[in-house]
């Protein structure tokens, strides 16, 4: 069984190939993949096309947006093991900052972006500081509540548009020849892709250093991490705040593309879908998370020809997938030597039942 498993373990094969490759090959491969990502809007392949909706729009929302948000949520859920069910709140805060400042003041997109991210981070601190003492499931319900509160607040506050939301959000100013208009989602996609790549780079840097090791320790055992002298509270809040910042970026970009937002776009389902992306792809592993997000965002659009039952199919696929591969499609690489007995112990110990 162990042999069979390792033979078909594409993720480990890929990781090994990557680690054995000389530097020039790594650079060449990275450039190749990044170039493909940037060229995606021009590909008109019947395999990946989305009949029923504009492929270029799909690339921006949901695919690109889900990837960005899933990477952000992965910092919180995957790396530090804090179950956050209200992630959409930070997305909403970013989007509303863009909407309100964009319509009521003369600030442009690039000036609002840091404000939106800052506000999202601030709300992350405000939510995180008191609640991160709570254990798993309690944290889940409190964050879920926070997500709902932000939405209900937006629905009931008329000065920020109430249930009708905000319309007429300005688009970002042009960069060189790239014009940001509602008709052309390509520049938005490229902008989002650039942000995503930057964030992936930052997260990977961070994960390899002190914060990353602290998050690892906290995820595996909170108490032991604290005994080892890690300021667990601080690193948990940091994970929360960084996750919030990523969602804030997503929110600002989203609002500037969609032009009008309504509070009901930011409901619990978004949080759950993003969480599903993280778990589906392989929790903790950034490439797995990206794959999961692409699949979960893309599949409902790809099977739009099924129209009515497509979400039903999606739900069933989720159940089947989790039953077949409970660790996700591309689980996080286990650095230890593979030992089937150990693995079960480790898996049950790591953030599971107890």
């Amino acid at each position: 069984m162990a042999n069979l498993k390792s033979r078909f373990n594409l993720r480990d094969k890929g990781a090994e190939y990557w680690e054995r490759s000389p530097k020039w090959r790594r650079v060449a491969l990275s450039i190749f993949f990044i170039a493909i990502c940037y060229a995606l809007p021009f590909l008109n392949n019947p395999l990946i096309n989305t009949p029923g909706s504009d492929f270029q729009s799909v690339l921006f929302y949901p695919v690109g947006m889900y990837v960005l948000m899933a990477i952000g949520l992965n910092i919180v859920v995957g790396k530090s093991g804090l179950l956050d069910l209200g992630y959409v709140a930070f997305f909403a805060i970013g989007a509303y900052t863009m909407a309100i400042l964009g319509t009521k003041t003369g600030l442009n997109f690039w000036e609002i972006l840091p404000i939106g991210v800052g506000l999202a981070m601030l709300s992350g601190v405000l939510l995180g500081t008191p609640t991160l003492r709570l254990r798993g499931d309690y944290l889940a319900i409190v964050t879920l509540g926070f997500g709902e509160i932000v939405r209900i607040f937006a629905v009931n506050t008329d000065s920020i548009g109430g249930a009708r939301g905000v319309a007429g959000i300005p688009t970002p100013p042009d960069i060189f020849k790239a014009k940001f208009t509602i008709l052309d989602p390509k520049p938005y996609y490229w902008m989002l892709l650039t942000f995503t790549l930057l964030i992936i780079w930052m997260v990977r840097r961070m994960a390899a250093r002190r914060p990353g090791r602290a998050w690892d320790a906290i995820r595996q055992d909170d108490d032991v991490a604290q005994l080892m002298g890690i300021n667990t509270r601080k690193y948990k809040v940091w994970a929360f705040v960084l996750g919030a910042a990523v969602a804030g970026v997503g929110g600002v970009v989203y609002a500037s593309q969609i032009l009008s937002i309504v509070p009901d776009q930011f409901n619990l389902n978004v949080s759950i879908l993003i969480l599903a992306c993280v778990v589906f792809g392989g929790i903790g592993n950034v490439w797995g998370v990206i794959l999961g997000a692409v699949l979960l965002a893309f599949t409902p659009e790809r099977i739009r020809f099924l129209s009515q039952p497509r979400i039903l199919v999606f739900g069933i696929a989720l159940v089947v997938m989790m039953n077949l591969r409970p660790d996700g499609i591309l689980p996080k690489k286990k650095r230890e030597h593979f030992d089937p007995d150990w693995q079960t112990v480790e898996e049950s110990g790591e953030g599971s039942i107890k």
């Binding site: 609640t131 003492r133 499931d137 509160i149 778990v279 589906f280 739900g315 039953n323 660790d327 107890k354």
Partner: protein, 317 residues
């Protein structure tokens, strides 16, 4: 802010709050039972409730032949209709809950999968069921025929006591009593408490863990089905979305009292029902969810395991 309304209609609101709280308490018992045994949030429990409401609807119009235009029934015919609807709703919910366990949980549990994987699997079941009913009902809410004449029995301190809500409160109390007897006295109930204390040891002591888990889901489903019937009896409509709102509130109630603790679920249910009706009188219905969550956060900050702690094994209900 309208404190005058709260002051004037206090007893009426309190009565409504208790009736709503009874429904919350019944649903949150399902969350708490499953949490006690599996240490998992049963995300699909809200859909177990939703299916109960539709089962009651089918029982009323299909089996008992009550139409929307009909006059409310009286006497023996009314009691029979009420009972049939209640039993059908309870059974439908209980069977759904057991199926959810088999489809979403069993395999993952036996493979020792992580908590999050199981959560996503349950979310998948939840999404599928909601979508199934959205397609069946064409995204439209459904009206429930009026089975019984709703009259005011008597007035107390300005509160009009309506008969259907009295039935709900009494029947819910009976259900909770029956569940308490079952958990504390019966053999299977002992099994449930043993598994919630220590799964491995109870397996060694000869407890059939699969059966215990099935029974746990069944019992939780029965309670959710009863809650579904009471809900539809009082509010007389349902839709595919009904589970979502009620489910969140009931889950909040379970956490408020200390999830995994039966007494906590009951207390949390009633407390949340009362808080929601009182605060919606003061701040307007739009804000009631916000107020409940703020109260929940405050409680958790002071006592992080909920008001009654979180162990099912010590529960005396």
């Amino acid at each position: 802010m309208d404190f005058a309304l709260l002051r004037d209609a206090f007893w009426g609101l309190t009565f409504d709050g208790i009736a709503l709280g009874a429904i919350y308490a019944l649903i949150s018992l399902g969350y708490t039972l499953v949490y006690g045994v599996l240490r998992l949030i049963n995300f699909a429990h809200s859909e177990v409730f939703m299916i109960g409401t539709f089962a009651a609807l089918v029982a009323a119009s299909g089996i008992m032949g009550v139409n929307i235009e009909d006059d409310p029934r009286t006497g023996g015919s009314m009691i029979l209709t009420l009972l049939v609807c209640l039993i059908v709703a309870m059974l439908a919910s209980a069977i759904t809950a057991v199926l959810v366990e088999i489809v979403a949980y069993r395999r993952l549990r036996q493979r020792g999968a992580t908590k999050l994987a199981t959560l996503i699997s349950a979310i998948g079941v939840s999404i599928s069921l909601v979508e199934l009913f959205r397609i069946i009902t064409d995204s439209l809410p459904r009206e429930f025929p009026r089975i019984m004449e709703k009259t005011f029995l008597f007035s107390y301190a300005g509160a009009d006591i309506r008969n259907d809500k009295v039935i709900v409160i009494i029947a819910a109390g009976l259900m909770m009593f029956a569940l308490e007897r079952f958990i504390t006295k019966s053999r299977l109930g002992k099994g449930i408490r043993a598994v919630s204390m220590d799964e491995n040891t109870s397996t060694l002591m000869g407890v059939n863990i699969n059966r215990v888990i099935t029974v746990t889901f069944f019992a939780g489903g029965l309670m959710a089905g009863a809650a579904a019937f009471f809900y539809i009896l009082v509010y007389e409509n349902t839709s595919f979305k009904v589970g979502f709102f009620l489910g969140i509130s009931a889950f909040t109630a379970a956490v408020l009292g200390g999830i995994g603790n039966l007494k906590g679920a009951l207390f949390g249910g009633f407390a949340l029902g009362l808080m929601e009706t009182w605060t919606s009188a003061v701040f307007g219905t739009a804000w009631k969810a916000v107020i409940s969550f703020i109260i929940l956060v405050l409680v958790l900050l002071i006592k992080p395991t909920g008001l009654f702690g979180e162990s099912i094994q010590q529960a005396r209900v």
